[in-house]
């Protein structure tokens, strides 16, 4: 499938995350969500999650915007993903997701907001917006 230029992707919300962004993805390479809770989640994501989920292959963390990696995770539901992020998780291949991304200072709600932002940017916009609406 041909890759669309980033400028085109960012002007088209439906297609914006149809392809993972190339290279290491920092927060400033991603569009801003209109929802305030998701926007705040993006701030938290940048501070704690980006280091691994920006595309740091050595950590084994699924890369933000990689919808192929995220689809089976999103299928598990928001509560499961939030639980894994808050309490930590050892995956099927023994990859480690550290509790709160290793940042013990984050509250449960802050972790959930960061998870929602990552889901929103990785093919699960509807699920993320449902969480934000609650």
């Amino acid at each position: 499938m041909p890759r669309l230029p980033l400028a085109v992707l960012l002007t088209c919300p439906v297609l914006a995350f149809a392809q993972p962004l190339d290279g290491f993805v920092t927060r400033d390479r991603l569009p801003d969500p209109e929802n305030a809770a998701l926007m705040q989640g993006g701030v938290i994501w940048e501070g704690t999650c980006q280091n691994c989920h920006g595309g740091n292959k050595l950590t084994g963390a699924p890369k933000i915007t990689d919808t192929g990696e995220w689809a089976p995770r999103i299928e598990q539901g928001f509560d499961v993903l939030a639980d894994h992020a808050i309490n930590g998780f050892i995956g099927p291949k023994y990859k480690e997701m550290p509790s709160r991304g290793g940042n013990a200072d984050l509250s449960d709600d802050q972790v959930k907001a960061a998870v929602a932002f990552m889901i929103w940017a990785s093919g699960g916009a509807e699920m993320a917006l449902d969480w934000a609406a609650e």
Binding site: L58, T59, E96, P98, G101, G102, N103
Partner: protein, 191 residues
């Protein structure tokens, strides 16, 4: 950082890394950078497997044994970084065709600090440029070496937690995904 360097007759390395699907090693040889990249792929894969399938499975998930720096006294698993170092020591006993080590700008053990200007340059480069490797040439003791430096990243909470809390650590703010050091692979080019 990418650069084209000379080629190496890499047959001996093809045997050393024992990759069944290794790209063909032809009579023209293989780029030094390709050789170090392949060596590092094997090293990092083996270490990752040990970290996940042994340490994470038995120490974190099952909780049946610990992994400890003092593994003999504690009757514990060796840490992944120690496993890596023991491999490097074994290779050094077997060959001088290449060498590797795990170094850091913030070592707990001062013996693991960089000792050459290129090691320092490489470690600083990979720390400042996440996801990138460093390649260069340096002359040591009259021999020219191809030197590659690959990022060593905090992949498990045990890694950064231990380094941050260790009494001898010069840095206490490591977090997940940070570059904590680098794997330095060196091949003599004069042979």
């Amino acid at each position: 950082m990418s650069a084209k360097f000379g080629k190496i007759k890499a047959g001996f390395l093809a045997g050393a890394i024992a990759l069944g699907a290794t790209p063909a090693v032809n009579a023209e040889g293989m780029e030094y950078q390709t050789v170090t990249d392949l060596l590092h792929l094997v090293m990092s894969s083996d270490r990752t497997v040990y970290t996940r399938m042994i340490v994470n499975r038995l120490a974190v998930e099952e909780g049946v044994i610990k992994a400890s720096e003092h593994f003999e006294d504690d009757k514990a698993l060796v840490l992944p970084a120690q496993m890596f170092r023991f491999g490097a020591e074994m290779v050094a006993e077997e060959t001088d065709e290449f060498s590797y080590s795990l170094l850091s700008l913030w070592p707990i053990n001062k013996q693991n600090a960089p000792t050459t200007p290129m090691e320092t340059e490489g470690l600083e480069y990979i720390a400042a440029n996440p996801g990138e490797n460093f390649y260069g040439e340096e002359e040591l003791g009259g021999t020219t070496y191809f030197t590659a430096v690959y990022p060593d990243v905090a992949v498990a909470e045990a890694c950064w937690a231990c380094h941050n809390e260790h009494k001898d650590t010069p840095r206490t703010d490591f977090k997940a995904g940070d570059v904590m050091g680098g794997v330095v692979i060196r091949i003599p080019m004069d042979g």
